[in-house]
Symmetry: D2
Subunit: 438 residues, 4 copies
């Protein structure tokens, strides 16, 4: 097996801990690269309770390795400050009392430098542990590392989402970076549809094959998927603007009841980060405020907006099972490799390249809202111990998104990967694709 390619374990016995160490180092370095353009002041801001200050992310991902690997399995390990176990615990209540989430921005000490010292301290200890691992615990260490690395990758994407939200509060619209990869401008073709026949599908992660997956993808099971059609690409900014211009945000008949209440309470009139300047729609991006590319997928819309658009368009959102059915085929066709992920360094969705045999842009660009609520698969089991809080306890009040986005590391995503956000959330790179009855 090769942890560098998908973090997978072929068999536990032939693992090479040093290979895992290299994966650890690579992923830790990627986090730091994301933070490199930040000022210390940027590290401190919590622009809403959902957002964490970058300083907290940097510390928390280190705490994860400390709490779940170093303290249990490296007897000589000395923590840098016992208070960090409280400060940087996110939500593991069976591990101890987490510091209150909405107050993460209130803590100026440890400073950014202190937190990087903590990070280096954890890294040195992880290197020591993986260079000479205790054989009797090696399997469990690697099992937890296999979770800790994608955990850190999730926080890489969260960092980009949160940095965008933080800088967007500032009326100066400062750019996070001025050297992002250019997004090629071109016209996308009119929306096309693919038809899928009815049938029983296997859904969820196949544990008999190699590769890591989260607990929430486990419990592979059969679903009967009735025949359906799916769009060959996500809805674009231009298409969404047509909805806006048709009064979409002013007509309750398109909206779920909770969605309409949110539109009214929040005064939504456009996707998050959109602002009209001299009659032209602009939006804030990690490269600053720029005119909206009408050919790129619409982004930073909530489930409510996605659903309202679909109702207006006489369509609906695909279910998880429909999406996974399509994605399975698309991945086989190599669609995955064309995805606009964080490595493409656009940090913004881009216009679809061309129509294809299979639906395009299934991976990368924007997380796609599905019509499915986030609930456990049959046979779902929590992980043992505090790690059991990783995913399971969030399985209410949220909707599933699929496919990764322009801020996701490519090797983090899978056909079976289930992301989730509340239906009103907009600060993720979230868009959507239409489906309809066959």
């Amino acid at each position: 097996m090769s942890p560098a390619q998908g973090l997978a374990i072929e068999t536990p016995d032939n693992l090479h801990a040093k290979e895992w160490l290299r994966a650890y180092q690579r992923i830790r370095a990627a986090t730091e690269a994301i933070c490199a353009p930040l000022h210390k002041e940027d590290y401190m801001v919590q622009s809403m309770p959902d957002v964490s200050p970058p300083k907290w992310h940097i510390a928390h991902v280190s705490w994860f390795f400390e709490a779940f690997i170093l303290k249990p399995f490296l007897p000589a390990y000395q923590t840098l400050d016992p208070a960090y176990d409280h400060l940087f615990n996110s939500y593991y209540v069976t591990h101890g009392t987490p510091f209150p989430r909405p107050e993460r921005g209130m803590i100026s000490r440890p400073t950014v430098d202190d937190v990087y010292r903590y990070r280096a301290h954890v890294d040195r200890a992880m290197e020591a542990l993986l260079s000479d691992p205790p054989q009797e615990h090696l399997q469990e260490i690697l099992r937890r590392l296999e979770l800790g690395l994608p955990h850190e990758q999730q926080h890489q994407e969260l960092l980009l989402m949160d940095i965008k939200h933080i800088l967007a509060q500032n009326p100066l619209c400062p750019a996070y970076r001025n050297d992002l990869a250019l997004t090629p401008a071109h016209d996308v073709a009119a929306l096309g549809w693919h038809v899928y026949p009815a049938g029983v599908r296997y859904i969820g992660h196949d544990e008999t094959k190699e590769g890591f997956a989260y607990d929430n993808e486990m419990g592979r099971h059969r679903q009967f998927v009735e025949a359906f059609q799916i769009a060959d690409r996500p809805v674009t900014n231009g298409e969404f603007l047509a909805f806006m211009q048709a009064g979409g945000y002013d007509k309750p008949e398109h909206w779920l009841s909770d969605g309409w209440a949110t539109v009214e309470a929040e005064g939504w009139q456009a996707p998050l980060y959109w602002v009209e300047r001299d009659g032209v729609w602009h939006h804030y991006t990690l490269g600053g405020l720029v005119p909206v590319d009408m050919n790129a997928p619409v982004c930073h819309v909530s489930f409510f907006e996605a659903d309202a658009y679909a109702q207006w368009a006489g369509a609906r959102l695909p279910t998880e099972a429909e999406w996974e059915t399509v994605a399975h085929d698309a991945a086989i066709q190599g669609n995955f490799g064309q995805g606009n992920f964080v490595e493409q360094d656009h940090l913004q969705p881009v216009a679809a390249v061309q129509p294809a045999e299979v639906p395009g842009q299934m991976f990368g660009d924007v997380w796609e809202w599905t019509g499915s609520a986030y609930r456990p698969y049959p046979g779902f089991r929590k992980l043992p111990g505090s790690l059991g809080e990783y995913n399971g306890k969030f399985m209410s009040g949220q909707m599933v998104l699929r496919g990764g986005c322009c801020a996701t590391p490519a090797d983090h995503i899978r056909v079976t990967y289930r992301n989730f956000f509340p239906p009103h959330a907009r600060w993720a790179f979230s868009g959507f694709r239409l489906a309809r009855e066959a």
Copy 2:
């Protein structure tokens, strides 16, 4: 066909409008019978925004017939007061601006007597219309009546739920009625399990057969249901008390994250309406404050509490499809007829009678929380016009409950019937049944 038995339409051509009129009169009378024990003061209270004052219910169900049948189809119809169209519209925004829900308790005029006058006015007009219906509109009138009658039945149940909540605010614990049918006390047997094999099931209302169903039951489709086990009765008060005594309300590890936040914010320590008096658990019922019957199904618990109990018990809640699979069999075995519905006049769940071939108490007693979020079936279509707001726009943020309860009219419920409430709601007669993997 017989509207008196299930409100069903066999074919549109052989309908007898007078038969429908008798059904109308019977159901309208049932609403008034529910309100008979009320004082005028009781009619006025809105104890929380979810609750409506009984006076409002009385008026709103009449408004429904006025707005959707009388005004469109009885040319001579004169409304009693044009303002009522605003005051008694619940949530049909495409019909007009509804009066704000949380302020329904602020309106003392029209008085209770005025509202009953309005009710009688609508009844006279409906009688006139159905006694001599315009042939060209008859089908549409009956189609709407077929919706309006179960609509009124839903409000009968809501009236009982709301009256209970209203009177429960009062430290005097007044009884709604002192002459309720006695609930026979006896011990229930230990929980047993029934096993169901894997297979493709048809889910949803079969439109090829007779009988009314709501739009949200339409879109009959296939689902693959993996093998599962289901409990032979709902969880009892005694079993739930064991959860409480084991510290269930104090241990976050059993709870969904949103559930635990609700427990802390609301200070929940027991089901709604439970109160300890001299070391004995009592609960408020429509017959007043009485000791809790430990053999009766637990009631007035939220989805969060049902889920936490199931996690604590090493089980889970059944999915909608599992529940419907079981209910289909149970109904065939005659289980339905044994249900404790509003006609039994307990207005409180009662202990299960005996174990049986099929799971018991699937119908009546308590609405059973399922593990399924309330989302549209494939092929779901809204009704045309304002009635399209009836069910579809509530399909986010809620969980499905099945089977009816002790406050539901027996002829209102079906195997495919989908009720729904937010996961924190407790004022419905809601309980639950366990399921687990086969």
Copy 3:
């Protein structure tokens, strides 16, 4: 002394308890007369936490006599229901736990009929007590009765304020009464000013003279009042409309900071109860919705609005001491007797009759906001026992109003009378008069 004329006590020895009983009966009857036009449904509404349902008022004023006179001094007294002591205690925390104020509208039982039975029960007991009073407690009984009767009068005014607020929530704008005394329409003269010289003034109730006063008027003391001018009548609706038309509600420079925040949060654009219909300003009155009389004093404005108007007009509000200085002179001139009080039965302020030697309309019509915060006089002492909570504990965050209004009983008011409301409150019959430096 004569309790029928001002509830005053000349000396305790020559009191005639039966004379007090007649005063009791007269004042209790006045309360019931105010409620006579109400439907039972009107009795139930609590339109905001500050408002109490009329049913609660009816019960609370009876509770006051029960708690503070009957239970301590009539040994044979049997309460009708022990729970009432909790339900109808307003805010006397040293007496017991009051029922939560915002939930007063949630309690349908006791019914209106029950509450009137309770009222009659208390009346019979009071009649028994006062017909044959225990001599050793007579002075204390009369001292408490002397507080209990103005207490009930205060609730008479509160009833009218609350009934107005309750009915105003109703889009039907129902009139409380259709037979109110007509308000004569005529033009008022332009605003004139009276000058008062500087000097030391005695402020507060003179305890050496006869007559009742509240504890908050006690502590007669000297204040040095610098020379000032005061307007000869309150500001009219027409004058206030000029402020509105000059953009008064849109220009923060006229407003106190808290006032401007309230304007923005509440969306104020006019006094409470004003609404524009076809280009004409109307306001809701106890006689229904009528066009605003531009010559009558503006009413239902907050301290913030009064202060903003004064700033806009280059003036200010008078202090308490200035107001009392003027009122003292005005009362001597007989100004008091011309007041528009509840007995005039307008229940709405009316246009000033004519300019005079002394400032007019100092008494009746509208409570006049002063520029003084409600704080204790030097030497203020609380009453002993639970009655010590009567006034003293409210001496923060409120402003003083003076002079009574069109809903105040004439024999309830005095030159030294101090009313108080928070600066944002508008549901009292509150207006204002301008002052400025000499």
Copy 4:
């Protein structure tokens, strides 16, 4: 005149602008000295809406000179960034739209370095202006400078208050400085009283004498002050602890109604920053967490707590006029020079030195809550233009405090100085002194 001693102007004609420049430089340097111990991260935190991030303070005080002096009077002045006029305007709505106060902590750019660059830019321009001032505007420039310098001093005290609140949120309890001047421990004598006779007093700033004062001190006028007694020092921590131990925080009878509601809502059981550790009361200070000195004045109590203590102790708080009467005498006796101000570098109140002829500790240590609401003096006039918003618009809902504290620059305070905070505020260095009737 000497701006270095009290910032006073003797006559406008003999002003030396360079002398003013030295005062400017001295006061600007003092601000920077206060911030010297901060990390950049500390500069970013807004721990509650009342608190501003230190970075914002640093920028805002510079903006004040830019907006009110440089832009109007230095024609060549170029602002560093036009956006700063929006970002760093505190509340001057007639000047432009201020950036929303609660979001001051959301803005990471300009960075701390940027803000110091802005500060230096303003300083250079001020130096240029004052080195060669335009004669025709000199008087107005100096008048505004005379306001701008105490404005900056107020922010020096706010910085210390805010830094304390910011660091106190941190469970690590970091010290702001470890080198504060030691607070000498010794026992204070039992509380003594001084008697003042009744009489007419002149209150407010005497404009005929030299020296600066704020607009809210203007309008010197006469008040009649009845005879009273005043305590010879503020209430100590030890005395306040006795109140706590007597159940002071649990007994509503001592509290104003709003105060008790605050105690219950906030769960107050001790002054702000107090925490019990192993049975010993500690409090957070700018030097870290230390045991409470029972002989030092109690600090960080609200008006509500001060008033409740006084009620419990059978006393009351002095009025403004009483306090100023005493302070006038005390200042003549040299009491002022003994004050514990920011220059003593304790940054914490200390125990009184000894009893004296006049009441002690009238100046410095703790701001003393008075019993007077913050309202304008007779004859109060706003400053012209936007500076009119400086004080006047806050004259509702607040109470007056007098005498300065351990964080106040000594040359900032005066006998007539009126500070003000809402009655629930506790993050100022606020204590109190008792008064009672003579």
